[in-house]
Subunit: 780 residues, 2 copies
Amino acid sequence: MSLPDHVPPAAEEQPEKPGQESGEKLKRDNQNFVDDEQLHLAAAYVSDAQYNRNIQFETSPKAIRFYKLYNHWSTQGVTYFFILVDLFLGLFEDPAVYLLPLWVTSTVEFICLLMFTVRLLHFSKVTPTKVFWKDAKNICVIVSILLTLVDMIVYLVLIENGYPAVRWSRVLRPLFCVNFTESRQLRRAFRNIRNTLPEITYVFVLFLFSVAVFSLMALKLFAKRKLTTGEGAPYFSNYLDVLFNLYVLVTTANSPDVMMPAYEVSWAYSIFFIVFIIVNTYVFMSLFLAVVYNDYKKHLKNEVRKLVYMKHRKMIEAFNILKTKNGTEFAVLDSHWRQLVKLVAPEIPSSHRELLWRVLDDEQKGFIGKESFIRLADLLNIQIVQMKERVHPLEKCMPNMYNSAVSQFICRTVKHQGFRYTYDVIIVINAIFIGGDETNPLISKAEWVFLSLYLIEILLKLYAHEPRAFFARFQFWNWFDTIIIVAALLGTIVNTALKSSGGYSSQQILDIVFILRVLRLIRIIDSFQRFRILLNTLVNLIPTMLTYAGLLVVVYYIFAIVGMEAFKGRIHFYGANSSDPAAKYCGNPALKGSQFAALRYCKNNFNNLLSSFILLIELTVVNQWHALATGFVKVTHLTARIFFVIFHIVVVIILINIFIAFVLEAFFVEYSLSRSAVETAVEKKIQELGMGDCADRPAGNLVEVMETNENDLGNIDDTDLKSRLRFRIASIRYKTVDALLQHMFEGELKPEDEIPTLEEIDNLSPDDFPPKPHTFDNVI
Amino acid sequence: MSLPDHVPPAAEEQPEKPGQESGEKLKRDNQNFVDDEQLHLAAAYVSDAQYNRNIQFETSPKAIRFYKLYNHWSTQGVTYFFILVDLFLGLFEDPAVYLLPLWVTSTVEFICLLMFTVRLLHFSKVTPTKVFWKDAKNICVIVSILLTLVDMIVYLVLIENGYPAVRWSRVLRPLFCVNFTESRQLRRAFRNIRNTLPEITYVFVLFLFSVAVFSLMALKLFAKRKLTTGEGAPYFSNYLDVLFNLYVLVTTANSPDVMMPAYEVSWAYSIFFIVFIIVNTYVFMSLFLAVVYNDYKKHLKNEVRKLVYMKHRKMIEAFNILKTKNGTEFAVLDSHWRQLVKLVAPEIPSSHRELLWRVLDDEQKGFIGKESFIRLADLLNIQIVQMKERVHPLEKCMPNMYNSAVSQFICRTVKHQGFRYTYDVIIVINAIFIGGDETNPLISKAEWVFLSLYLIEILLKLYAHEPRAFFARFQFWNWFDTIIIVAALLGTIVNTALKSSGGYSSQQILDIVFILRVLRLIRIIDSFQRFRILLNTLVNLIPTMLTYAGLLVVVYYIFAIVGMEAFKGRIHFYGANSSDPAAKYCGNPALKGSQFAALRYCKNNFNNLLSSFILLIELTVVNQWHALATGFVKVTHLTARIFFVIFHIVVVIILINIFIAFVLEAFFVEYSLSRSAVETAVEKKIQELGMGDCADRPAGNLVEVMETNENDLGNIDDTDLKSRLRFRIASIRYKTVDALLQHMFEGELKPEDEIPTLEEIDNLSPDDFPPKPHTFDNVI
């Protein structure tokens, strides 16, 4: 990051140091004046800190405007869009799901490359030139763009002249996805993996040695016996064959088949295989998980520490810009702070902003110190929902009717526990009907009854509760219910209309309607506190899980492109009920009589991006991967063997273990923490100001919570804030594991700790942590 | 534990309290006198503390003699022997591997029961009657013995009269294995599992709900399409069928086969299966592991805490018996201490005992306080190896020759790094020869060359190093080498002799010789520091892993007995190359054309204990378990389905996850700790006394270590101890994870902490731990 020239990096450490430069002096002289440019610069720093961006930007007013544009959701969205277009191009290029002419795909790809170039140029305007050229990400993108261009031209020329050609640069496409600054999380996950690799390598070599030794033993034991496998092939007849079979056995994919021929001869030989599985599958694979997990934790901790330091440093930069001298200390005045927040987060309503200020300026002094100021970045990340105690619209329009005894009775009934239980029973009964045969007229009529019942439920709830509260952003189950029911209603109506009009019934619509009907049943989970907690834990894991999904997609894409070039057209699928004799052996004579053909695996091929992805997922699940692999081995020999083994090592042994390590870690974090310190502070303040809800209740119960609080309406005595306002923290459901980790690490950072400089932060190593005494608690 | 009546439990807390009872007074009056009975009582307490026994024993002199006998290795060994005999009886009872007459097995079982009764009677003499009848273990054993007796009589009577009968009480046999006091570790593992179950149940119910909902969806989507599976059966035609298939899919055993019929119709249906696998296999199974791991840690921590408290309490009891007043404080005199250690560990040589005393009595005061005394239990558990700097026997016999220039050159050569590297190269070359065809005369001759080379290596090493040091207990690789080479030599000689005498060659001997040859290659690992560390970690895990193996054997045994009663004789194996037409369908017409028969799985049956165990191990590995299960389902319908699913839940979902949790935990502990505090103290003392080796080097390098230390021989200035003595801690290799955990927790227990009373210890709950602040370190 290029610091503004007039603020030396350590300025905040020696505020009294004489000889400060002119800009600094100017500000100090005009203590209460902060100009627009300075505000925008500070806002850029705060915004970076809020979103954990690690970008070094120029501090000229023009560069900051450019930087704001660079981070704007619209430019980011455009970049994402073109990355996706570039990736999806694979569907329309030979071998294609739907083949588009070469000029179309080439033009689209060229436009994508152009957009990437524009984006990169934009970035180069924002960041100092030196920093730009030092960054491996930018170099990588430039090289990828150039290589792709060269490859496109060569390919077009060759194809036009009738030569065979390979579009190898398609392998580079996922690099755009990883290397644009937007994909910080993805890049972090990759960096974690790269850092973990050296440690894994040792275990992996030892594991390979173990498999090799066992293979030698198996060769000596079984080769001379001339046994045959179930398919009639010679059993364990040469070393490479044994090695491959035993490697497959580690994945358990050919257990117990690989053992049977030997076991049939004598039970004693089964001991060999059992020992092999215990040593290599259970012990070594657990060891892999342990090593991956251990290293993952170590590097994650380091990454999080870097993030936290970076955030603090950016906030200190912002503080130094806005600070005014206040007695012997520097502070930020509330007026500057308000202008800053308006710039950083214009979407925050003023009441909410006042709340944040009150949290930071606990003693109502009108200014805040550095430590309080730093907390702003976290405060902005907390989703505070402002709940206006709104009057029901019906009550507004016709108060007499809505407040009548009958109406009030309905409201009470709907809010009663019994109402929920009644609908739980209805859901269970519905499940039984769904299981029945839908061509039965009784059941298809019952479906209408159930749909009406659910619709009535929603309408009643809307009658009893204020609609905007009912459809608030964090009311997951209300949204879920409504969407499912309305969609099912529409689907059923469309389907019935189609049927009655022409006797035609769309299978797709029916399928969707069926799925929607079954999904309705999920709602019953919400009625059990215990399950709701588990489900919330799972829901909380989703955002970070998506990072890993992105990582997998990148890896899959590369393997899919390579696989398509290597295996396209080798295996054909002739349709589900083809009578073509070639369908029996997937159109490739090499597969005649093979297990691959016998298992009807012909559709598992690399003939387009879609089936490649599905095949790779099947390989990730591992089971039968040897059957799939040997099918391709029969067609392309060594290429396939290498391809499938490398895929297994990369995806199953490394990536899936890291995924499991992540889920374990995330679960432990979720399990051991309920809320962070910052959130607690905000909540305390909300409660102090008497604007709180009973926030310990899960968000799903909001409607009831509002009801119980109706009596306290008049108690708000803080005149600064409008009455009839309620706040609650909505982030319990949405906070990510990353955020949690950061909050935790901040708890460890003492405020007087010196924040390292930017270069130091970049070079922090996971082994730098001060050695802790080995106590029971940090090991167990 | 019954405390001696004259020592109130909290006596050590208030040593000045007046009105102590008569026995206590007597001891205080005769301060320096501790009689034999008291010593024996104290020794019993210390021995309990050393071995973490949690037994309450009577304190009368007779009971203590009985107790010593009860804990003697011979009586324990006899008990283990009869437990094993009882378990192995299953091999000889119908359905048997080798059928013995009913009267033989009945008699043997009766003898076993008799021995168990004797053991229990012995225990009842040792422990107070009240405690004995309160202990669930004892009740369980008594009930098991009685039930087994009744069952045996009923069975014999029925069989004699020609009625069919089932020996159901065989299921109880593993209970003896678990409930005898010797199997503390096993019982603890079971207790841990039992405590973890409630938490697992919630996740499991949610998981089942998820599978049920997905099944309903699959039924709605696919039932009406009338698809067929690869075997031609209807695809997803009824709910139970779908449920079973999708449950199997969670284990991935039928992936991707179960998807193929739908995938062939449309790629969109593959999304259903992919979502299913992500949700149920990856997320839920990781969640299982996380919950199991989390709870396992929690309960393990509690168990370890109980153990540590119990140990402290026992040591305090011993201290109270031996203490004498010393000024205002109580202490134990060195003379009493020596007598005590002689009683507790008679095998410890006196020099070693002196070392331990010096560790405890750091300032050479001649007495030790309570805190030092408590450490004795841990000190006794550290394996200290006393290494006498012995003169090589050849040097003794013919010093001139051994010290000659040639002889010294040989010694130096053997001890040189190059010597080891030479042999590493030889091993690699040997590996290539082993891979070759052994009927080739060149290769079979080369084998003799390699054998001689290895033999020469061992002889040279024995020449260069002192033989007793070479074959010390902890010299793992030396033992390994010698045993492998000598065995291979013997095997090869016997085989050659047999061959040349009558042309007959025993396949068994050849198999063993081949395995030995390959095992030789493993030694190359020892040449790489990095791999040696990994290997040591694995070796350290073995002792506790055996606990889990024991646990699995118990569970397998129960399932095997039930399986044999349910499925014996239903599936037959006709030999490897039988021409009997029934061999094609395993002798059961229900299996005609089934996948089970096609895969040649006939030998996977419950026809005797041995094949039952192998089959259960195959089911644990999971792959193809649905093929095995459906084979048995075709034969016995619902029984088999229930049996196989329950087995999968118990063994794969619960036990294997606990096993992985254990390996992870053990690895982290091994990874984060090198040695415990007590060991460090002992080592410091050894170094202080100048009797140490460079103990940081791994034990495998001992021979070199001794060489480098030869120059310091004259430096020992402590006249109390004989010169030419060396100690080193040998337990790095052998210490268990349990021991590590205890040491770590002891670091947290402050010495002034009040040790809870025995009843409090028993009732400690894992949630009792004082809440810790949520810092980064105890979560990450």
